[in-house]
Amino acid sequence: MKPIHLNLAARPYRDYRPVYAVVVLLSLLTAFLMLNNVDTYYRYVRETKSTRAKIAQLEEQTRKEQELDTRARQRLKGLDLKRLDEQTKFINAKLNERAFSWSGLLDSLESLLADDVRLLSVSPTFDKTGRIDLSLDFRSKSGDGMITTINRMNADPHFEGAFPHNETQIDEGYAFTISVRYLPETGPSLRGKGLQ
């Protein structure tokens, strides 16, 4: 007699245990990572809060500085720097001329001239750098007057680069002209050189 096998199941039997095991494992792993990540995120936010605030504050300050810088440079662009520079150089040259001490120059020349040499005329020229060149006319009783004068100028720290222009024999002796750079004490000047 053949046994009767009754199958009362509504669906065919399937073993879902491996699937549930994987689902549980994945869920646990995901939950663990998620908790860790949330903790990490909040820790990062907390630890960098002061730094981020400082960065934001510095960026705001930088923006303000740049605005002020732009405004100042725009105002600078509107100024006539070239004209002021020219005026400053011209005025400085004139102030140097005004500050030039003729008494000091005559004192220096008095201590320098030999007994038989007389000064006839002095005319200085001033350039924009403050350099003073002198053109000096002399009379001398002897023929050595010019050489003595040049030697004495070379030995004097107030004079530099003495150079003769001419020497002429005249009735009273000799007439000669010397050009030399004069190095006095520096005079007052306006600020603002090199404005541009």
Binding site: V19, V22, L33, Y41, I55, L95, W102, L106, G192
Partner: protein, 195 residues
């Protein structure tokens, strides 16, 4: 078959796991480097601020320097040099006063005038003109030195341009002096709107 039936759940779990893994690898593993990045970003922003501050200070200092120099230039032009109508007679009076003070009174005074040649055309120039005075006196060397000294100490803006000395005998010199002063150019007259 069983995997396929639960694939939706498995895919969702997989995606969640992957996202968390990515987050973990970028945030957790590189946590220190991110903090370092933040510090370097802070240093960079501080550097930018310092540069902007320096640039702004430079620009403002240039402006202040310009204003200061402009003020100095105006003070010279307006007060020291002034205009010819306002100061010429004062200048001539000063020359005569100093000549009297040094007991060497010139009989003739010669006047010259020339516009400043320092800066091209008149409109672009520095706006100044020179007036020169030349005279010749018979004086001793001490009188000549005294006159030079008085001109150097004068309150007026007087520049000694040239000195010439000629022996006139009996300890006397024929003393020639050329001096000059500067005046600010008169401002251009305003246009007459009524016409």
């Amino acid at each position: 078959m069983i995997w396929r039936e639960r694939r939706t759940l498995l895919i969702i779990l997989g995606v969640l796991l992957l996202a968390n893994l990515v987050f973990f690898l970028t945030y957790r593993i590189q946590y220190q480097s991110r903090l370092d990045d933040m510090d370097s970003r802070l240093a960079q922003v501080e550097g930018q601020l310092a540069q902007a501050h320096k640039s702004r200070l430079q620009a403002e200092q240039s402006l202040v320097a310009y204003r200061r120099v402009e003020k100095d230039v105006q003070a010279i032009l307006e007060d020291r040099w002034s205009t010819q109508p306002r100061r010429l007679t004062l200048f001539i009076s000063e020359v005569k006063r100093l000549a009297r003070a040094s007991n060497a009174i010139p009989t003739t005074l010669s006047f010259t005038r020339n516009e400043s040649k320092a800066a091209g055309s008149k409109s672009e120039g520095v706006g100044a003109k020179e007036v020169g005075v030349a005279f010749n006196v018979d004086a001793t060397y001490d009188q000549a030195r005294r006159m030079i000294n008085l001109f150097e100490l004068s309150e007026q803006f007087v520049i000694i341009d040239q000195i010439s000395l000629t022996d006139a005998g009996e300890n006397r010199l024929s003393f020639s002096l050329r001096i000059k002063t500067l005046f600010r150019e008169d401002p251009a007259p305003a246009t007459n709107n009524r016409s």
